[in-house]
C-alpha cells in the first residue's frame, strides 16, 4: 500500500499514446482501409439493387409497350340501306343488333379487289377482330342518317394481325428480276415462266437445304441402326434409302423442287398480284395466286420481283396468305396505329385485342373502398384506445402481442378465413368486392394499428401535458392535440397499408375473385376481379398477345403503387412538424 502511494505517477493511468509510432500509423491506415472497404461494399450493394431495378423496369416497360398501342385498318365501308329494316332506322338497338359481317366482308373485298373463293375470303375476314365493327356500330347508332353512305372507319385488326405489325411476323426480302416473265393466269394455280433463269439462285438455296436435310436423315438412319429397337435395322434401311433419294434430288439441278412450309416462303410479285411458289425450277415456277394478277401480259425485267418471307410458314403464327393481305393493306397506307384506349375502357375478354383492365381497376377501387371504410375507423380507434386509454395489464399485453403477430400472418390464411366466415357462414356473394374488401381489411388492420400507434407514440408527451395543464380532459387532450399531430403518420401508415392491399392476390383467390369476368362491376356485390388477380389470370393464358397485356396491367398496377406511395411521402413531408 505504502509502496504504491509512494510513486503515484508511475501508475498505468498516465500511459500515453504515441501517435507517431509505426504501430499507431499502421493502425490508422488499417482503420482507413476498413472504412473505405465498407463504403465500397455499400456502394456495390446499392448499384446491384439499382441495376436489378432498372433491368426489371425496362423489361416490363418494353414488354408492356405493345399493349398500349393497337392496329386497325382504315377502310371505306359502304353501309347498305338495307342494314336494318326501313322502319327500324331510328332505333339504336336495332342498329346495334344488325349483322355487320357482310358489310365488313364487302369493305375488305373492295380494298383488295379480285379475292375469290371461300378460303381466301374467310382468311381476309379473320384478319379483323370480332370487335372490329364496334366503332362503326356506335357511329351509326348515334347518327342513323349515315346508313346508306360510305364511311371511312377504323376496323380493329385481330390479335394475330396486330402482333404481325408489332414485329411478330417475318423478315421480308425482295429481289428484282433480271429478265422478263410471263404468268399463265390471273387466279388459281398458275405458272410463271422466266426464260432468263431468274429463279436459279433460289433453286440453289433450296437444293442446299434439301442436301442438308438429306445429311440429317442419313445421320438419323445411322442412329436408328445402332439402337436396340426391335425393327431398327429395317427402319434404318428405309431411312438410308430416303436419304439417298434426297441427296440425289439435291444434286440434280435440272428437276423442279417442291417447296414446303418448313422452307422460307418464296413468292413472285408480278402484274400487281402475288403468287406463292410451290414448284420451283430455274426457269419457271408453279404456284397459287395469293393476290390476283391484273393480266397475263409479259412483265418486263425489273417490273416483277421475287419476294421471300424468311421465316418458314410453319414457324410463325400467321400464314402466307394473311401476310400477303396485310402487306397489301400496308402498301395501300390503310394500316393505322393508335393508342389503345380500349385497354382502359373495356373489361376482360377472350380476344386479346378486345381485353381491357377497366373491370379490374373498378373492382380494385371498390375493394379498396370497402377496405378503407372498414379499417381506418376501426384501426385508428383501436390504436388510440390501446395507446392512450387502455390500462396496462396482462390482457392488453396479450392483445398487443397478437396484433403484432397478425401483421405477420401469411395472407392466404386471411383468404381461408374469409372463405369460411364471409362466404360459408354469412353467405355473402362470391367474387364480390365486398368480401374482398372485408378480407383485405382484416389483412391491413394490424398494419394500420401498428403504424397509428407508432405515430401517436411519436407525439411528444409535453404536448399532452400542456393540454392537461390548462385543464383539458384526457379525451380533449388527445383529440385536440395528439391526434392532429399524429395524423400524417396515421395517413402514411394507412396509405402504405392500402398499397399492400392493392398488390394482394392470394387471399382474393380463395374467395373466388379469380373468375373470368367481362362486365365492369357497378356495386360492391357484383362479381369482380382486381388488378393483381387480372395479371395472374392473363399470365396464365396461352395467346401470345396476352403476354403484352399482362405486362401492361403490371405497369398500370405499378403506377398505382407509385402514386399511392408518392402521396404518402408527400403527406409526410407536407405535414411533418418539428418540435
Amino acid at each position: 500500500m505504502t509502496d504504491i502511494s509512494a510513486q503515484p505517477t508511475a501508475g498505468p493511468l498516465r500511459r500515453r499514446v504515441d501517435t507517431t509510432s509505426p504501430e499507431a500509423q499502421a493502425a490508422v491506415r488499417r482503420r482507413y482501409r476498413s472504412e473505405a472497404r465498407f463504403r465500397t461494399y455499400g456502394l456495390l450493394a446499392i448499384l446491384t439493387a439499382a441495376v436489378f431495378l432498372v433491368v426489371l423496369l425496362i423489361d416490363i416497360g418494353a414488354r408492356a409497350l405493345p399493349a398500349f398501342t393497337t392496329t386497325s385498318l382504315q377502310l371505306n365501308v359502304a353501309v347498305p340501306n338495307d342494314l336494318v329494316p326501313a322502319d327500324q332506322k331510328n332505333n339504336p338497338a336495332a342498329i346495334r343488333g344488325a349483322d355487320f359481317l357482310p358489310v365488313m366482308r364487302e369493305a375488305l373485298k373492295t380494298a383488295i379487289p379480285g379475292v375469290q373463293g371461300r378460303g381466301p375470303e374467310r382468311t381476309l375476314l379473320r384478319l379483323l377482330s370480332p370487335g372490329a365493327p364496334d366503332d362503326l356500330r356506335e357511329r351509326l347508332a348515334a347518327n342513323p342518317s349515315l346508313i346508306g353512305t360510305t364511311l371511312k372507319v377504323p376496323l380493329l385488326l385481330s390479335a394475330t394481325a396486330d402482333l404481325y405489325f408489332k414485329g411478330a411476323g417475318t423478315p421480308i426480302t425482295t429481289r428484282s428480276s433480271r429478265d422478263a416473265a410471263t404468268p399463265s393466269g390471273t387466279t388459281g394455280t398458275i405458272t410463271v415462266s422466266a426464260p432468263g433463269n431468274d429463279f436459279s439462285e433460289n433453286l440453289v438455296t433450296v437444293k442446299l437445304a434439301v442436301a442438308e436435310r438429306a445429311h440429317a436423315l442419313a445421320a438419323e438412319a445411322e442412329r436408328t441402326a445402332r439402337s436396340s429397337a426391335p425393327n431398327a435395322a429395317e427402319r434404318a434401311n428405309e431411312l438410308r434409302a430416303e436419304a439417298a433419294a434426297m441427296a440425289a434430288r439435291a444434286k440434280d439441278t435440272a428437276t423442279a423442287e417442291t417447296l414446303d412450309s418448313r422452307l422460307p416462303s418464296l413468292l413472285v410479285e408480278i402484274n400487281g398480284g402475288l403468287v406463292k411458289v410451290s414448284q420451283l425450277a430455274a426457269d419457271r415456277i408453279e404456284g397459287d395466286v395469293l393476290l390476283p394478277l391484273a393480266s397475263t401480259n409479259e412483265a418486263k425485267a425489273s417490273d416483277w420481283r421475287i419476294v421471300t418471307y424468311v421465316t418458314p410458314e410453319s414457324s410463325r403464327k400467321i400464314g402466307d396468305q394473311e401476310v400477303a393481305f396485310l402487306e397489301r393493306f400496308k402498301a395501300n397506307g390503310q394500316v393505322e396505329k393508335g393508342f389503345n384506349w380500349r385497354f382502359f375502357t373495356s373489361g376482360d375478354s377472350r380476344e386479346p385485342e378486345l381485353a381491357g383492365i377497366r373491370g379490374a381497376i373498378v373492382g380494385t377501387a371498390l375493394t379498396l373502398l370497402v377496405t378503407l371504410v372498414l379499417c381506418v375507423p376501426v384501426g385508428v380507434a383501436a390504436a388510440i384506445y390501446l395507446e392512450e386509454f387502455a390500462p396496462k395489464n396482462r390482457f392488453t399485453d396479450i392483445i398487443e402481442v397478437n396484433i403484432n403477430n397478425l401483421a405477420a400472418v401469411p395472407s392466404i390464411v386471411f383468404g381461408l378465413l374469409g372463405l369460411a366466415m364471409f362466404l360459408n357462414f354469412f353467405g355473402l356473394p362470391r367474387s364480390a368486392p365486398l368480401v374482398g374488401g372485408l378480407v383485405l381489411a382484416l389483412l391491413v388492420l394490424p398494419t394500420i394499428i401498428i403504424a397509428s400507434r407508432a405515430a401517436l407514440k411519436a407525439v411528444p408527451p409535453s404536448i399532452k401535458e400542456a393540454a392537461l395543464g390548462v385543464g383539458a380532459s384526457h379525451q380533449q387532450a388527445i383529440f385536440h392535440h395528439v391526434l392532429p399531430l399524429a395524423m400524417p403518420g396515421i395517413m402514411t401508415g394507412t396509405i402504405i397499408g392500402m398499397a399492400h392491399a392493392l398488390g394482394e392476390t392470394a387471399p382474393l383467390l380463395m374467395i373466388g375473385m379469380v373468375a373470368f369476368i367481362v362486365d365492369v362491376p357497378t356495386s360492391v356485390t357484383d362479381a369482380a376481379t382486381v388488378l393483381p388477380v387480372q395479371i395472374f389470370l392473363w399470365s396464365d393464358l396461352p395467346e401470345l398477345a396476352f403476354k403484352a397485356k399482362t405486362a401492361g396491367a403490371i405497369v398500370v398496377l405499378l403506377v398505382f403503387l407509385f402514386v399511392m406511395n408518392g402521396t404518402a411521402i408527400w403527406l409526410r413531408k407536407r405535414f411533418e412538424r418539428r418540435w
Binding site: I463, E465, V470, G471, A472, S473, H480, L485, W579
Partner: protein, 274 residues
C-alpha cells in the same frame, strides 16, 4: 405578506415544518406521501403556501420537489404507478376528494413546464384554447379580449401583436415560455405552478421571466421549482428546501438563505453538495 416572527416559536416546537402563517394560506399540504411503485419519492411533506406570493422549492435533483409540485394539480394521476396519500387543500378544499373533478382542478391550478411546450398552432390558438374549452368567453370579441389581456400580462403582447396567427413554435425560447405563461393565466387560475421555467432559457430571457413572475405575484399564488438558488432568492418570498424526499426546511426566503437552521440546507445553499 411578511411572516409573523412569532411563528418562530411554533416552528421550534414542530421543527422544520411551517405553521399557519398570519396571511391566509392558499395551498395547505399535510403528510403528503408519494410512491412510484416501490420507490418512496416523497415522505410526509407538510407545507403551507401563502396567497399572492411566490414560493420556491429548491433542492438537489431527485429530491421530490417536482413530484410535490405535480401533486398540487394532480398531474401525477397520469402516471399509473404513482400513488399519493395525505392531504392537500386549496382554499380549504381537499383536491384529492373523489368527488372533485380533476379537469376543473387543473383549470384553477395552471402549470408552466420546464421546456417551453406551446401547441404547434397559432399564438392566438395557444392562448385561446384554455378559455375555449372551459367556456370562459361568450363571444369572439370576449375571447379576443382574454387572449390580448393574457398576452399583455405575460409581457408578450408587444412582441407578437402583429403575428397572432403565426405558429407558436416559431417564437424564441423565452417568448415560447412567456406564451406558455400567457396560456396558463388565460383561464384565470388561482395557483400557478412553475417547474423550472427558466432552465432551458438564456440569462436575458430568464431575467424577463423572473420580472414577469414578480409582476404576477400580486394576482396569483405562484409556486416555482428551481435549481438556481439565486433565482429562488430573487423571485420568492418563501422557500422550501427538499432533500431525499423530505421537506428539510421551510421559511422566509431571506431567513433560509441567510440563516438556515438545518445543516443540510446550509451545505446546499453554500454549494457544498447537490
Amino acid at each position: 405578506m411578511k411572516m409573523d416572527m412569532t411563528t418562530q416559536g411554533i416552528q421550534a416546537a414542530q421543527p422544520y415544518v411551517a405553521a399557519k402563517s398570519s396571511t391566509a394560506s392558499k395551498v395547505v399540504a399535510r403528510g403528503v406521501n408519494v410512491h412510484y411503485g416501490e420507490k418512496h419519492a416523497l415522505k410526509d411533506v407538510s407545507v403551507d403556501v401563502p396567497d399572492q406570493a411566490v414560493m420556491a422549492f429548491i433542492g438537489p435533483s431527485g429530491c421530490g420537489k417536482s413530484t410535490f409540485l405535480r401533486c398540487i394539480n394532480r398531474m401525477n394521476d397520469t402516471i399509473p404507478i404513482c400513488r399519493v396519500t395525505g392531504k392537500i387543500e386549496i382554499d380549504s378544499k381537499d383536491i384529492y376528494d373523489p368527488s372533485l373533478d380533476v379537469v376543473q382542478l387543473r383549470a384553477r391550478v395552471g402549470m408552466v413546464f420546464q421546456k417551453p411546450n406551446p401547441f404547434p398552432k397559432s399564438i392566438y390558438e395557444n392562448v385561446a384554447y384554455g378559455p375555449r374549452i372551459h367556456g370562459l368567453a361568450k363571444s369572439k370579441t370576449d375571447l379576443d379580449e382574454i387572449v390580448t389581456m393574457s398576452l399583455e400580462k405575460a409581457g408578450l403582447l408587444k412582441e407578437v401583436k402583429d403575428r397572432l396567427n403565426d405558429s407558436g413554435t416559431g417564437l424564441s425560447g423565452g417568448q415560447q415560455q412567456r406564451l406558455c405563461i400567457a396560456r396558463a393565466i388565460a383561464v384565470s387560475p388561482d395557483v400557478i405552478l412553475m417547474d423550472e421555467p427558466c432552465s432551458a432559457l438564456d440569462p436575458i430571457a430568464t431575467a424577463k421571466i423572473e420580472e414577469l413572475i414578480d409582476e404576477l405575484r400580486s394576482n396569483f399564488c405562484i409556486i416555482i421549482v428551481t435549481h438556481s438558488m439565486q433565482q429562488a432568492a430573487r423571485v420568492s418570498q418563501r422557500t422550501a428546501f427538499f432533500h431525499l424526499g423530505i421537506l428539510v426546511e421551510e421559511g422566509e426566503t431571506e431567513t433560509i438563505f441567510t440563516n438556515p437552521r438545518d445543516e443540510r440546507t446550509r451545505d446546499y445553499i453554500t454549494g457544498r453538495f447537490g
